[in-house]
Amino acid sequence: MTSSSSPSTHVASRARQYVMVFVALAVITAIEIAMTQTSIPASLANVFFLAFSLAKATLVATFFMHLRDDSRIYTAIFLLPVVLVLAFSTLMLMSAGGH
């Protein structure tokens, strides 16, 4: 972050980047909704849905939440619980298969 006293002239706008990320998010969402209206086999579609969901969440965290530019410590703090939740949910689903 700059400490310049006349920042408006020094800080470049990132609006372009933000809008591009937004367009990507919107397009993925549109594809998802379109896919629900087609008859793609569920198992195949689900793989896509999970991948899309991961991509969207990553885009928001990376660009909108600035994890790309900020300290890696923030990324670590966010990723540890995400990994734990993935593990927990997977184990919950596995134990569901046990009964």
């Binding site: 998802e32 999970l50 965290a61 410590i73 923030y74 966010f78 619980p81 927990f88 689903l93």
Partner: protein, 197 residues
């Protein structure tokens, strides 16, 4: 007195060396715990989705909720555009975008309310089945977070009106933004596991 004022400026030096702001770090830690909270609810939802048949889920209106998803994603864009404005010293831009954020958040809540009412009309309620319980609890807690987010957006808007933020000092806007984007991410995940899969 003088030595105290020096220590006051010097207080967060270790954080600056790590390029950490204590308010942002606190926010990220809070969000980490929120990930775990939603993780518990999501694990519950998935477990029941896998073990208890839920024919009611056919009543879910994916297109309506898809539009709602689009609205929430748009609101996230508004937040970053607002942050971008104040970073360049443009207070008017911040005010506009924060207002739009709160508005879009409210629209999202309206959409969710409409969805809830129509599901209740189909007999799907909190107490009708395990699916109903876990669906309304999970989306309800997310909705509660959006509601808090709208209130926070308005609060930030109020502070911005009183000129609290500037190109140099806008951590408050950033912290709000982190919360809002997190709520957005949670919705992206919920949309997938509830409506798409």
């Amino acid at each position: 007195m003088t030595s105290h004022s020096i220590t006051h400026e010097d207080e967060f030096r270790a954080g600056r060396e790590l390029s950490l702001d204590h308010r942002k770090l606190g926010m990220w830690l809070f969000l980490a715990s929120e990930v775990m909270f939603f993780g518990g609810l999501i694990g519950t939802f998935l477990h029941y989705k896998a073990t208890v048949p839920s024919p009611e889920s056919a009543e879910l209106d994916t297109v309506l909720v898809g539009i709602n998803t689009f609205i929430l994603v748009t609101s996230s864009l508004m937040v970053v555009l607002g942050l971008d404005s104040i970073r360049r010293g443009n207070r008017r831009g911040l005010l506009t975008y924060l207002g739009l954020t709160a508005l879009l958040g409210a629209v999202f809540l309206g959409g969710q309310g409409y969805e809830f009412v129509s599901l209740y009309g189909h007999g799907i309620t909190l107490t009708s089945s395990v699916f109903g319980s876990s669906f309304f609890t999970l989306t309800g807690f997310h909705g509660l977070h959006v509601l808090i987010g709208v209130a926070w957006a308005l609060l930030t808007l109020g502070k911005a009106l009183r000129g609290k933020y500037s190109a140099e000092d806008h951590v408050g806007v950033e912290a709000f933004g982190l919360y809002w984007h997190f709520v957005d991410i949670v919705w992206i995940v919920l949309f997938t596991i509830i409506y798409l899969i």
